[in-house]
């Protein structure tokens, strides 16, 4: 039996009818046409599907869509302010933190969630905050540098 739920995604309300076994990843990608959220494993292991749910980064493949009913969700599509990139996104571009880009949406959201709580994280704190997001391409260094640099920009 499908259930009607309300999802508040990127400051917009959506009413959707979902089957109870559908994950938030699936509903975002397929029903709301927001495929920026990636699915790398569908098992909670890789972090590619990270979204921010009520101020906390979560693996959306582990969240049932019905569990997100009436809650605030930020996906990668909601990070930039129109044509203006968020400082984290800008830093990712400038520091070469993006290779294949499949981990990037999740990385950006994990970083955003970190910097919202901790304006001036140490390198270790950054690495810890990103440790649930796997990246096979970059070796993480340029991602960490980008987050560090974004934190400096955001303080100003």
């Amino acid at each position: 039996m499908k259930k009607i739920i309300t999802l508040k995604v990127n400051n917009k309300e959506y009413e959707v009818a979902v089957a109870p076994n559908r994950t938030l990843t699936q509903v975002l990608r397929e029903d709301l046409n927001l495929p920026g959220t990636k699915c790398g494993c569908d098992m909670g292991d890789c972090g590619a599907c990270t979204v921010i749910l009520d101020d906390r980064p979560v693996n959306s493949c582990l969240v049932l869509a019905v569990q997100a009913h009436n809650r605030e969700i930020t996906t990668i599509e909601g990070v930039a302010d129109g044509p203006n990139l968020h400082p984290i996104q800008q830093a990712f571009v400038e520091h070469g933190a993006v290779q294949c880009g499949f981990c990037t949406p999740g990385m950006v959201l994990s970083a955003k969630s970190l910097l919202e709580k901790n304006m001036d994280p140490t390198e270790h704190e950054i690495r810890e905050a990103l440790s649930g997001n796997l990246c096979r391409c970059t070796g993480y260094q340029k991602i960490v540098e980008a987050v560090k640099s974004a934190s400096q920009t955001m303080k100003k």
């Binding site: 990668i76 993006v98 499949f102 096979r136 391409c137 960490v144």
Partner: protein
């Protein structure tokens, strides 16, 4: 060094904006109207005869549009090397590994397709299992493929110089064995594709692939379509590292289902299917015998290698050659003998992964060289410097080091890491290690025998002259070829980076063999450079006729025409341009004639302004059998120093520092080069310390998840001191050559050598998990 306007800089990647905002589209993000979803039935047994397949229940399930087995798909054989086509779309008589494909369903949604798959009945008769490659080649073992009665898929025997004679002259000889475990590519994006067959008989296949060209050929051949009727295109690809470099099952199955149903069909692997499909790093068993003189001069190397190939050949024929040929450098080595054997087993097929075939051989040998240095009382870095090849040297197996900054690499890491202050002076539990490596800059020959160009490029100017469209079939899989080729086009023409718009990864754009063997910067780069110069010359020639100024007196820089001999009156051209574009926002202005205006003049004369480029390597060395694997127009090389800490109570290893120098000839994009180095090193760290595909007694992969197949996280990787060495390769565009794969070569042995320095223990089995090291330390303490 010459100053360049665009290349050798740190421009952001062309696709970075799309990728940070979530706008970038990967295959599984795409849908087509009326699209069906495909699902596979795969074998639950590793070796069995198929007695009966009954698809009737699946066919009756509402929502199912098609069910196919070998009966419908046919039995055309395919694979990677034409010499070993040993796969069919579906298994016919027997299955050879857990995951082997038996049937597929197309249905209106994925759930229905999966349910239908579960309704297909298959009756099996189990056959003896062969999971161990040494068991597989024993007399009397059952043949996994009828054509290969002893299960040896391929063997190689090569000798350069005379190893037995040479060994007799050596002061010191030692033999060591080394083994790794089967690995996984572990790219983040699972393979996915959408096939669309239209009423005109054209098939468009959108796929997460590294090689649109090879996929096009394979799909056309297996499905009996003219090559020209098959178009393969890739959107963004979420990493590949080798396993996506050949046609896969879902590409063929989705195409077949689309042809039969007349509707688009999407198929996407689950993460478990990625592990089952595999085609990643083989398991290698090396036995190396090296002979040297007292002063450390290398004299001879004997290399015997057995490889666990898995159920099919995939890239294996090339792999078994690379397992030998990639030890021919970077040291002067007059005598080398190689015997390689690749065995079939009832496991997922192994193929190519970053550093194809050479990574484990390199790990084994560089560790052995470390032992030899110690036995001779030499600094291991000095031993390497002493034997190092130089620019212009040719290896015993005929590889020409047309540029080779190996010595510079070694000196850079020695000084950059503080080697002299640290080597031999670190406390127990801390260690430092060094290793070197080299790699091809593009396979010298295509996978199938052919006179084909390896890369073509086309540059077409928009009629207003303002946009430069670059078309290439090269594949950006994250490594940044779109960026590098865009920069090259802009540099060759003399325009700005943002004036060039790249369209790539599509067989309609030309021929490019794709992203494998670290070939695109050099090979696709040559084609793009040529196409850019062609366009530039065409525009200047027209302009020359128009303004009556010799071509030599003009230049193009940053999108402006430079008149070398002083001011020229071009007001006629300008006012015409402005008149024609009244109302547009980008009217040319300023004191200089813009490229846009000049290109518009060329358009008036020619209608179509297209620059063309095509590249294939010239004559490469090596006339012996197998010389095609390893010969390349150029070779990249690198050296690394790694520092580790080992917890002497638990065996836990922490990588503290990595210093890496890589000779990429000339860095087109410095940030990208560093990114390739850092990424290679992290893959090496994973392979050295964690990564191992495990099987149960039935041949099932027991850890097909990122939870249990562990790759490095942000907490495992240290920062890398990445040092770029530029040796100016004469065969590369602007002197550029590879970095994407060569950089992984020294990583594993440098870690092993550092572990030894910290603990006194030589580990000859990968991965060096803390458990394995702990047991080895315990063993040693007992003695």
């Amino acid at each position: 060094m010459k100053e360049y306007a665009i290349i050798n800089s740190r421009l952001p990647k062309v696709d970075a904006w799309a990728k940070v905002t979530g706008d970038a589209r990967y295959t599984d993000d795409l849908t087509m109207p009326n699209m069906l979803y495909g699902a596979l039935l795969q074998s639950p047994l590793a070796h069995a005869k198929i007695k009966r397949i009954d698809t009737s229940k699946a066919e009756k399930l509402p929502g199912v549009k098609d069910v196919v087995t070998a009966k419908e798909a046919g039995l055309v054989k395919y694979g990677v090397s034409p010499a070993r086509y040993d796969e069919t779309i579906f298994c016919d008589q027997k299955v050879r590994y857990i995951g082997d494909e038996i049937a597929a369903v197309a249905a209106v949604d994925l759930e229905t397709a999966l349910e239908a798959v579960s309704l297909i009945e298959v009756e099996y008769e189990e056959l003896p299992l062969l999971l161990d490659p040494f068991e597989a080649r024993k007399e009397g073992a059952i043949a996994i493929h009828d054509d290969f009665p002893n299960n040896i898929c391929a063997e190689v025997h090569q000798e350069f110089g005379n190893v037995e004679e040479a060994l007799k002259t050596c002061d010191y000889i030692r033999t060591d064995k080394f083994v790794n475990k089967k690995q996984d590519g572990a790219f983040l994006e699972p393979q996915s594709c959408i096939a669309t067959y239209d009423l005109n008989g054209n098939l468009t296949l959108t796929s997460s692939t590294q090689t649109v060209h090879y996929v096009q050929r394979t799909v056309a051949m297996v499905l009996g379509l003219p090559i020209g009727k098959v178009r393969v295109t890739k959107p963004c690809v979420g990493g590949g590292f080798g396993p996506k470099a050949s046609a896969n099952t879902i590409e063929l199955v989705a195409s077949l289902l689309s042809m039969r149903t007349g509707r688009p069909v999407k198929m996407t692997f689950t993460r478990e299917q990625v592990f089952q499909h595999s085609r990643a790093r083989h398991q290698f068993f090396h036995e190396l015998t090296t002979g040297v003189m007292k002063d450390g001069t290398l004299i001879a190397l004997k290399n015997v290698c057995h490889m666990d190939g898995g159920a099919y050949s995939s890239f294996g024929i090339a792999t078994v050659y690379y397992g030998g040929s990639l030890l021919g450098a970077p040291y002067k080595l007059p005598n080398m003998k190689y015997d390689g054997y690749r065995m079939y087993t009832n496991k997922p097929a192994n193929g190519a992964q970053r550093g194809h075939g050479g990574v484990i051989a390199r790990a084994a040998w560089e560790q052995q060289l470390d032992v030899i240095a110690e036995e001779l009382g030499m600094d291991p870095l000095e031993l390497r410097l002493k034997n190092m090849m130089k620019k212009g040297d040719v290896t015993c197996n005929d590889f020409n080091m047309s540029s080779f900054g190996m010595e510079e690499c070694l000196e850079a890491i020695r000084d950059g890491s503080g080697w002299k202050e640290k080597k031999g002076k670190l406390p127990k539990g801390k260690g430092i290690g060094v290793a070197c490596g080299f790699f091809v800059s593009g396979a010298g020959f295509p996978i199938y025998r052919s006179e084909t160009f390896h890369s073509t490029a086309m540059i077409k100017l928009s009629e207003d002259g303002g946009t430069i469209n670059l078309y290439t079939a090269a594949a950006d899989i994250g490594q940044g070829s779109d960026t590098v080729l865009t920069m090259m086009a802009a540099e060759a023409i003399g325009v700005r980076y943002e004036d060039v718009r790249v369209s790539s990864g599509d067989t309609d754009f030309g021929v490019d063999l794709g992203a494998y063997s670290s070939r695109q910067t050099l090979m696709s780069g040559h084609a793009v450079k040529q196409a850019g110069e062609d366009v530039r010359n065409q525009v200047l020639e027209v302009l020359s006729r128009n303004l009556k100024i010799p071509v030599e007196d003009m230049d193009i820089k940053q999108g402006l025409i430079i008149f070398k001999k002083g001011k020229v009156d071009f007001s006629g051209l300008r006012s015409q341009y402005i008149k024609e574009h009244r109302g547009w926002v980008d009217a040319p202005s300023g004191d200089e004639l813009t490229f846009k205006e000049a290109a518009r003049v060329a358009y008036f004369e020619k209608g179509v302004v297209v620059g063309r480029g095509s590249y294939k390597p010239g004559d490469l060395g090596g006339k012996y059998k197998g010389a095609a694997v390893g010969t390349s127009p150029a070779y990249g090389c690198s050296a690394q120093v790694v520092e580790v800490s080992v917890d002497m109570d638990t065996g836990k290893i922490t990588i503290d520092n990595m210093t890496d120098a890589h000779d990429c000839g000339f860095a087109i994009n410095r940030t990208n080069v560093e990114g390739q180095m850092q990424g290679s090193l992290s893959m090496g760290v994973g392979e050295a310390l964690y990564e191992e595909i495990k099987f149960d007694a039935k041949g099932r992969v027991v850890n097909p998840t990122f939870g249990e197949y562990r790759i490095p996280t942000a907490l495992d990787m240290p920062n890398v001191n990445a040092i770029i060495i530029e040796s100016n390769e004469p065969n590369g565009p602007w002197g550029a050559k590879e970095v994407g794969e060569g950089a992984i070569m020294p990583t594993i042995p440098a870690i092993l050598n550092a572990i030894y320095d910290a603990t006194g223990i030589r580990v000859r089995e990968l991965p060096v998990t803390s458990e394995r090291l702990f047991m080895a330390m315990k063993e040693k303490n007992k003695k």
